[in-house]
């Protein structure tokens, strides 16, 4: 059959082979080549783990954070990866609740991406807090008024949900499915999928929002403080919309990257179109709300606290250019690119727009984390700057390496893209 002809013929006598672990019918590079790809990322992971070890062993004086910059690179990265990983819940929501069938092609990859993002964020948090062993205090003595309590609960629960969604994929691996009960377990879990998707959506909505709420409720920081609806500041909703908008972009980017690196077509073109279209619409909504919110903040919220907004932008490099870049260059522009079908159809433009949107979200999280802390609040305060130490960069790079490694292993040994075989056969025929 066509499948047989597409099998890579690996001599049976070759001693080192993981053919038995790779899904039947899937075309993967030889193990030595894979090892060559993995090696530098593994080294980076090892280096990063050492940096993290130093921080855990010697204390957070290994970082360049200080009493003024209580949050630094790690918190900024946590927020960014969680926003980028929102594709997991949103794709699930779109597929299982709104029944956007094209997304079935990427849902598994999205779950892996989500799992990587959330588990990576949790690992960084474990290093970032001063007393990681006390993590359970938040569950034991929760503060119902605190956004961070909400974030902790929801992120932990959602990570659990993602794990439950990821486990079936792992269990479907060619070798593992032979274990007794694995398939049964996987089947049972599969039946839960829509429920899990619903739960995941609910949890994600709240923690994406609460992450925004973290900054919006800071009355002591007029730069970040926003008015809102009931107990939820406007940043709550802006974070949800921006995360939902950017999640699909990130999935598209990762899928394109996987296609490029594996030199295969993994999804149909319509998937990109759907992802781009959804992103574009959400982005334009986000840009609209963000603009309104910024105008309200400039004209009402900030002055009512005694701080004219323009005063926050008088220091290099945090001038008004940053605000404009965030809303226009990294918000409006990608939204427009993604909204027009003709532009969306051009893969290069779509991916560029996706990258711009992801940068926009990163910039937004950066501004709220770093600029909030950099600007002075008291007259005898100073504008201060902060640059992370190598240990902070190292830990961050460890998470990147971890993500690449986990995704690489998932791609190689699991069937992340259900249409891969079919598209490969079509390509072979044409």
């Amino acid at each position: 059959m066509a499948v047989a002809s597409t099998l890579l013929t690996i001599p049976e006598s070759r001693p080192v082979s993981d053919r038995g672990l790779i899904q039947r019918g899937l075309d993967r590079c030889p193990l030595p080549q894979f090892a060559l790809w993995i090696a530098p990322w593994a080294a980076l992971l090892a280096f990063g783990l050492y940096a993290a070890y130093l921080c855990l062993r010697l204390g957070l004086n290994q970082t360049n954070m200080d009493n003024r910059f209580a949050f630094g690179l790690w918190i900024f990265l946590d927020l960014t990866v969680i926003a980028l990983g929102a594709g997991a819940f949103f794709t699930g929501f779109l597929l299982y609740i709104l029944r956007v069938k094209e997304l079935r092609a990427v849902i598994q990859s999205a779950v892996v991406i989500g799992f990587i993002c959330y588990s990576g964020a949790v690992c960084i948090l474990a290093v970032d807090v001063g007393q990681p062993l006390r993590f359970w205090y938040t569950f034991w003595y929760p503060n119902v008024h605190s956004m961070l309590t909400e974030v902790t609960f929801c992120i932990t629960c959602y990570l659990f949900v993602l794990a439950i969604e990821y486990v079936p994929q792992v269990l479907r691996n060619r070798r593992l499915r032979q274990a007794p009960g694995a398939l049964v377990f996987e089947f049972e879990l599969h039946k839960l999928m829509p429920v899990l998707a619903g739960v995941g959506t609910f949890l994600s909505f709240f923690h994406q929002g609460s992450l925004g709420g973290l900054y919006g409720v800071l009355r002591g920081r007029p730069f970040a403080f926003r008015e809102g609806f009931a107990v939820w500041p406007s940043t709550f909703f802006l974070f949800v919309i921006s995360a939902a908008a950017v999640g699909p972009c990130f999935i598209a980017l990762i899928t394109a990257l996987a296609e490029k690196l594996s030199r295969k077509t993994l999804v149909g073109a319509s998937v990109y179109d759907v992802l781009g279209r959804i992103s574009g619409r959400l982005l334009i909504v986000y840009v609209l709300f963000k603009t309104i919110d910024t105008l309200i903040w400039i004209n009402r919220t900030s002055p009512s606290h005694g701080f004219p907004a323009h005063r926050f932008y008088q220091w290099i490099p945090f001038g008004t250019a940053i605000l404009l870049a965030e809303i226009v260059l990294f918000g409006l522009l990608p939204a427009l690119l993604l909204l027009r079908p003709r532009w969306r159809a051009r893969r290069g433009l779509l991916l560029t727009a996706g990258a711009l949107a992801c940068c926009g979200v990163a910039l937004n999280r950066f501004v709220l984390t770093i600029q909030t802390l950099a600007v002075p609040t008291l007259p005898f305060d100073r504008f201060l700057t902060y640059f992370p130490s190598w240990q902070e960069f190292g830990t961050f790079l460890a998470v990147i390496a971890y993500g690449v490694l986990l995704y690489s292993f998932s791609f190689r040994y699991l069937s992340l893209f259900p249409r891969e075989r079919e598209l490969a056969a079509r390509k072979e025929r044409s």
């Binding site: 204390g59 957070l60 004086n61 954070m65 200080d66 009493n67 003024r68 910059f69 209580a70 949050f71 970032d128 807090v129 001063g130 007393q131 006390r134 993590f135 205090y137 938040t138 034991w140 003595y141 929760p142 503060n143 008024h145 605190s146 956004m147 961070l148 309590t149 974030v151 902790t152 973290l214 409720v217 800071l218 009355r219 002591g220 920081r221 007029p222 009512s304 606290h305 005694g306 701080f307 004219p308 005063r311 220091w315 909030t372 802390l373 600007v375 002075p376 609040t377 008291l378 007259p379 005898f380 305060d381 100073r382 504008f383 201060l384």
Partner: protein, 246 residues
Amino acid sequence: MTSQTGKTKAARYGMVVDLDRCNGCGACMLACAVENNVPPAAPGATDRTGITPLRVYRYENEGRVVFVPIMCQHCEIDTPCVAVCPQQAVELDPATGIVGQIPQRCLGCRYCMAACPYHARYFNWSDPEWPAGMERALNPAVAPRMRGVVEKCNMCHGRWHEARELAAARGESGPVAYTPACVEACPARAITFGDLNDEASLVAQMARQNEAFRWLESIGTGSKVYYRSRREWVRESSRKEVNGRG
């Protein structure tokens, strides 16, 4: 706390700091460090990573100088740090008005430090280290903290406890009078401390005067540490929009 009759008036301990008297000697900073077992600077510490629960700032404006001691302002309106702590490691004690930090509960997430506009909270970036033998000279009434937790001024809560026990032993009830370390130490007697709920107290009277003001009044934190100065430019700077230095 309740007495036999069931009802006791709560105290609201506050301060009035006279900026015209403060000459920036730093005695209060050292008395606070001695009283609260704050360790000396860790290797590599700077003014951004040091622990100074009470810190005196030198504010210079067009050649005029004022020294401003800043400690936790014990905000009582939607206390920013209390609202944001994920595990209730800080609480506003309704009986005293003191915002008390519980370092043993603190996870070290530092969200409260981001929330505090007065920069009154300090993180233990390193394990505390005292020169050999100096731990014998620690104050027995206060537990040293470990690295990874946040600490701040708690109006010498240990001294309040001691005063309360003595008062209870004498059979007295009601708000107790005590003196925090910085108030006792100031050579210029610049800090006045007491129960703001007691209208007749000196601190309550001073807080009501025209020369009294609070920093960041516009944010509405309900700070219980008032400052006073006869110099208009000092009071004006507390109302002026932020301009910062540097």
